[in-house]
Symmetry: C2
Subunit: 341 residues, 2 copies
């Protein structure tokens, strides 16, 4: 999936900020791509970018209208359909994170066909992947792994992309989830791929590259999560990472959606190396990213210090304290990839 940029951000008439969570994520990480927003009467979300009509968006160079909002009830309301059809007729592609497929709505399918525009449903994959080969390919790769789902794996690679680029490193975010696909303009929601093709899809997402180029691959789930470990393992094998960062939320006691206790960070490091060396014998941890949102600053610093000491690795909260320590370790471990001082 390759989504043309820049974007017009469609916010509909969502009742709160949470329903536009994906849109906020895109605007945070790709402000240059978010030329404007299109809001309907009653919309409670605001990305703090210009409100544009469809004609204005086209005039300012927008190529794709992005639906980064959730609709109540899973059904596309008629007044959204009308706006999507109008966007297609104005010459924009439309990319959606909704559960319902855009092409399943006859009026949208007809308008896209009539105008030769593309419809992207990032929750679904239409790409036909090969099975994974497991052969080492050129380029450097970093993967975020976790003690659980939703512990900051996407945020950490995006923060690393920003931090590494600021240090002159050649680094690129590689998306494996739906919000990530909007942020990258490319990728696949790996949890929506047919099981046989998980690792093959990741080989496609992160293809062979320059030997000193870093692909920063968004992790998913956890090797210790009973619902999703298969996805995490296929992702690990396909990513064949040289380096990995463990993401963790220190106040959580059970894994998301199930009754299983969280694994220790040490267990995640050990298992990631054991399983990851199948496709990259050199795999190694380079740091730990901790979501300390629930802790005071003092508690956060003490927690990070303790985790760093226990594992002999840099530990940080990327949101609160940045990723300098992680980048330092990467530069030290992989000096050939180069960096400015």
């Amino acid at each position: 999936m390759q989504i043309d940029t820049p974007y017009l951000m469609f916010l509909g008439d969502v009742p709160d900020h949470l329903a536009a969570k994906t849109a906020y994520g895109i605007a945070d990480w790709r402000p240059d791509w978010c030329v404007g927003q299109l809001r309907l009467p009653g919309c409670a979300a605001d990305l703090d970018i210009p409100d544009l009509t469809l004609a204005e968006a086209v005039e300012r160079g927008c190529r794709t209208m992005v639906i980064g909002v959730v609709n109540a009830g899973g059904v596309l309301p008629d007044h959204w359909v009308a706006e999507i059809v109008a966007a297609l007729e104005a010459g924009l592609d439309v990319a959606s994170g909704l559960h319902v497929r855009l092409g399943s709505v006859p009026a949208i399918a007809a308008a896209a066909k009539a105008r030769g525009r593309r419809l992207h449903d990032v929750r679904h994959t239409t790409e036909s992947f090969a099975t994974g080969k497991g052969t080492k390919r050129p380029g450097l790769r970093l993967l975020t792994v976790g003690t659980d789902c939703s512990v900051g794996k996407k945020y950490t690679v995006l923060a690393l992309e920003r931090g590494m680029r600021a240090r002159g490193l050649d680094a690129e975010f590689r998306a494996t989830g739906q919000t990530g696909v909007f942020i990258s303009g490319r990728g696949a929601a790996i949890d929506a791929v047919v099981a046989d093709f998980i690792s093959g899809a990741v080989e496609w997402i992160s293809p062979a590259a320059d030997p000193n180029h870093w692909d920063l691959i968004e992790g998913q789930g956890s090797l210790f999560h009973p619902s999703f470990a298969g996805v995490s393992l296929g992702l690990l094998h396909g990513a064949q990472p040289d380096a990995f960062v463990v993401c963790h939320e220190p106040t959580r006691t059970t894994m998301r959606g199930v009754e299983h206790p969280l694994p220790t960070i040490a267990a995640v490091i050990d298992m990631t190396i054991r399983l990851g060396r199948l496709t990259n014998p050199g795999i190694r941890p380079v740091g730990i990213a901790v979501n300390t949102q629930a802790l005071s600053e003092d508690e956060a610093r003490r927690t990070l210090d303790a985790i760093a000491a226990e594992h002999d690795l840099p530990a940080t909260d990327p949101v609160r304290f940045g990723v300098d320590g992680l980048v330092d370790r990467l530069v030290a471990e992989f000096p050939a990839a180069g960096a400015s001082a």
Copy 2:
């Protein structure tokens, strides 16, 4: 997917036995369900069961026509389409192992709709699964795992079903691959499930059961196969097996389709326990099934003796020497499940 039995086996006009491999597997393991075969002029396959017309098949109680053959080129030839339509019009459901979906052929879709018959495409899943919960459910479960793909995992559980039933044990084969689904009349091709639902699908395939009932779950792939390990891990977590049997082919040096060396049996046992205890802390190996087809009988016996001694587990070739040793071990390890002498 629940396929009504008994079956009329459609063999078309396949040019050799290999193209009807699935049909032979079904006839071998479910002779009572295979009431007759339907062959077109030029067919080189023969299941050695009565040739029936559609009318005769219906009269003898057939409920489903099974297409357990491969068509050249992936396109359904017109004369097969005509026969499938005729079967639907005669009142049979149709179940297919072809890549092409039956319902994608307009004439077949129309006939099924007009007659209210069901179309089953076992390579595809239409079932909507929940994500796995990982909670322990009642009943006993055995899973076959492997040092590679295609090392006898399906054959071993089917041979165990036969051997355990002969000893008075309550045991049932649970299918996770397409041939297995025909043999079981139920199940799902787990490699065709969307990645997020692998373990959830297995929880559906092997639901809660009587505490002394054995589900014998068909394994897929290998935890050490770089293309498919994610499927194997999701399957392991969903199956939450009490017991597992390692399947192995001793003359193979690299894994199927890739350049990676085969893991050792010891590595497979170790990793299966490490990962499997997430959803079943009591998981243990109960034997090793070795495909000795490439060895002389003497070599086979020596190989099995050596493997048994090395791992302190019964080792057998289920095809050549039966599964008595495996059943003995199961009975010894799980005495409550009971067995006749």
